[in-house]
Amino acid sequence: MKQGIILRGKKILESIGDYTEFFKSVITNTFRRGFEWNELIRQCYLVGVRSINIVLVTGFVLGFVLTLQSQPTLKAFGAEGFVPNMVAVSIIREIGPVIISLICAGKIASGIGAEIGSMKVTEQIAAMDVSGANSIQYLAVTRILACIFMVPLLVLFADAMSLLGGYVGTNISGNMTAVLYFNKSFSSLLFSDFFPSLIKTFFFGFIIGFVACFKGFHANRGTESVGIAANSAVVSASFWIILIDALAVQLTSIFVYNQ
């Protein structure tokens, strides 16, 4: 029992060490000569294309469902007119970034984890290193940066779709002109709603790319490790997204809303 705890503690410390080491090597290789511009652009394209459909659909459904769900309640208080405001604020401040990032974690992190994991298992990464090429620079730096750039962009698209979804939702029962609907939505949105949530998504993007690359690069020998790498990439990335979100909510309420 006691030994089990010691062993577990040692494992945790070791993995913190591995993460730190990997982080350091990603940072130094980001600024090293020979930056892989073409590969970065290709990765941005892949990350975007892989996830755009599901992200757009999810964004639309979020806005649509939230509208339909909140309408009866707000109606009971005679505040039906506030539905667009409420939907816009809640989705853009919180639900959009988190849900979309979690979806990206599922879609992108699993892809990267499996891809790099299989390169590790089939010794392609070793082949790069042995040839004198820089596998971290070519594989990890490009993918992590692609996630940092593309996840916020995907979230923005999803936010826009959710407003559209909300508009469609309101017009199922009521009828509100598009101009009025979007006026209401935007009038309730402050810069302080939008900006912190945008910043947050850059961190979510980093986490998705970083964790997925880490899991891939640290895959064990044997083909089953590819599945394990993909799976644990999604689990860890999702976990960190939720954790960072909790932290970010605290920070914004202290610094932005001064509460």
């Binding site: 392609q124 070793a126 082949a127 042995v130 040839s131 820089n134």
Partner: protein, 242 residues
């Protein structure tokens, strides 16, 4: 004769299980040295230590006069320019075509940016291994033997002085295996390289090796030419040659 690789008392263990318990070997310039031994005896581990993929627990490895265990990553990269490594499973970059596989080390290691030069060297390397027709294929469309050749071309394209072959003929039919063995000899002639060849395939060892070492239980237990070892009185050594 000049020594290009010298390993002294190399030891390594994985999770407390010793794999190498004291390997000593030297590779001379221009020599083809074969290492044979049963599966799982640590042959791949030995050459992975030479290129810094694994870090030994104890012992020194000197490659071209440099102790590789004491190099920082830039010095190691510089040294790796002079060594080529043929992986047991070929390790081709699956997501790239044959052409891109070959261009990869040229662009990223030799920093060549001239497209015509890259094309010329790629074609040359593929011709050297008899695979010129496959330049636009994906690695997944190649047969096992073609993959080996392709991997060899990618290794040769940077003109390494030292080539480490990890089971170059395993999993190939007898005829293809002979062709690869012959190719290894051609490469030595053409590139003036020194090589370590790990193999289970005695006919490959017979064709390619100037000297053969036998590894058992983490140590080199015997060494000599094919003839010498074949006629050994030790039944274990002789058993490899039956």
């Amino acid at each position: 004769m000049e020594t290009v690789i010298e390993i002294k008392d190399l030891k390594i263990a994985f999770n407390g299980k010793p794999v190498l318990t004291g390997i000593n070997l030297t590779l001379c310039r221009g020599e083809n040295l074969a290492i044979i031994g049963r599966s799982g005896e640590g042959k791949s581990v030995t050459i992975e230590c030479i290129v810094g993929l694994l870090t030994p627990d104890e012992g020194t490895i000197t490659v071209l006069g440099k102790d590789i265990t004491n190099l920082d990553s830039d010095e190691l990269k510089e040294l790796l320019l002079h060594t080529g490594f043929l992986f047991q499973q070929s390790a081709l970059y699956d997501s790239m075509t044959v052409r891109e596989n070959l261009a990869f080390p040229l662009i990223r290691v030799l920093k060549i940016s001239d497209e015509a030069e890259i094309e010329k060297r790629s074609v040359e390397a593929l011709e050297a291994v008899g695979l010129a027709a496959a330049i636009d294929k994906m690695p997944s469309d190649l047969s096992g033997g073609q993959r080996k050749r392709m991997a060899l071309a990618r290794t040769l394209i940077v003109n390494p002085e030292i080539i480490l072959y990890d089971e170059p003929t395993t999993g190939l039919d007898a005829i293809t295996s002979k062709e690869i063995s012959a190719l290894i000899m051609d490469i030595r002639k053409k590139y003036k390289s020194s090589s370590i060849i790990i193999t289970h395939d005695m006919s490959c060892a017979k064709i390619t090796a100037d000297r053969i070492l036998i590894i058992n239980e983490g140590k080199i237990i015997a060494g000599g030419t094919y003839k010498e070892l074949e006629n050994s009185s030790d039944p274990f050594i002789a058993s490899f040659f039956k």
